[in-house]
């Protein structure tokens, strides 16, 4: 079963960020190992000294490029960055990040909604990085976001999903795909996200900053598949006490 986002279907439910890799080689091999079809990039001032290009890697692998608005603190910045990205990459898609502060990198609900509304009005396909508040998620959905991307814990914290209940509630109430974005630390976190009903997982640091990024990318690919299949398989209920698996016990 494939993931549908804004009318396009994808075989992989894992989206990779390209930040934090030690080298373009490591990035390329990890992207390949992860099986992802979508990779995010940021926009920054031209640096003539920069070696090689993330763009070439993404094109060589035939991935779908998803620009983000990382580092924007206001709707105004985020909207301008999205417009620049549209011009630079000829894509209407944007991973919308509007950050509230630089310690938590948590989204700012008010500015996020403002930017999303503006960009949707301009015809963008908006994938907002949001917190785990189901009410905010519903607002983002109502104004026309193509998905909601709640965090599990702070970006790069590797702390996993700190409030699985909110994610569960958010998923139950969502009418668009839910992508768990930010906080994934290891494979079990990614599997849990899918078991909670998320439609996909977006991660970067857990792979790019792992001791062995390629091995972790492989692990994440399998973990997302495992969690997705486990969700569909229908797990057994949790019990306080035992339930014998051998007759007569």
């Amino acid at each position: 079963m494939s993931l549908e986002l804004a009318g396009r279907t994808w075989e992989s439910r894992l989206i990779l960020g390209t930040g934090g890799f030690r080298s373009l080689e490591s990035m390329e091999q990890s992207l390949k190992a992860s099986g992802t079809e979508i990779a995010t990039v940021a926009l920054r001032r031209v640096d003539p000294a920069a070696q090689g290009s993330v763009l070439e890697v993404i094109e060589r692998l035939g991935l779908f490029l998803l620009p983000n608005t990382a580092g924007c603190y206001t709707a105004r910045d985020a909207v301008r960055t999205a417009r620049m990205a549209r011009e630079a990459f000829a894509t209407d898609w944007v991973k919308l990040e509007v950050i509230g502060d630089d310690r938590t990198l948590f989204p700012d609900a008010v500015e996020l909604l403002r930017a999303a509304e503006e960009l949707i009005g301009e015809g963008f396909v908006v994938l907002p990085y949001t917190n785990d508040d189901p009410i905010l998620a519903r607002r983002l959905e109502q104004i026309g976001c193509a998905a909601v991307m709640p965090l599990g814990s702070p970006i790069g914290s590797g702390a996993g999903i700190r409030n699985a209940y909110n994610i569960q509630i958010l998923v139950e109430q969502a009418g668009v795909p839910v992508i768990l974005d930010a906080g994934i630390g290891s494979a079990s976190d990614a599997a849990l996200a899918m078991e909670l009903g998320c439609d996909g997982v977006l991660l970067a640091s857990s792979v790019s900053r792992a001791k062995d990024p390629v091995a972790m990318a492989t692990a994440m690919r399998k973990a997302v598949e495992a969690g997705f299949e486990a969700r569909r398989a229908g797990r057994i209920p949790r019990r306080l006490y035992a339930e014998a698996s051998t007759p007569g016990d």
Binding site: G17, T18, V46, S53, L55, R80, M84, K95
Partner: protein, 66 residues
């Protein structure tokens, strides 16, 4: 004339085009976007749109991130 290019003051010929600024900034052929005084300039207008003294030009390109 002087313009501010990616935060630094640079000297360009009178009426230099956005395309020239992009060249000076050392941008790659592709995956580049330009804003002049905060307004995005479509690639199609780079050659034709002339810059004026003191304008702020931002030339951005893709970096790993997010």
């Amino acid at each position: 004339m002087k313009i501010e290019l990616n935060g630094e003051t640079v000297e360009l010929a009178e009426g230099a085009s956005v395309a020239e600024a992009v060249h000076v900034a050392g941008a790659a052929e592709r995956g580049v976007a330009v804003a002049v005084d905060g307004e995005v300039v479509p690639r199609g207008e780079w050659d034709t749109s002339a810059l004026r003294e003191g304008q702020h030009v931002e030339v951005l390109q893709a970096v790993a991130g997010g």
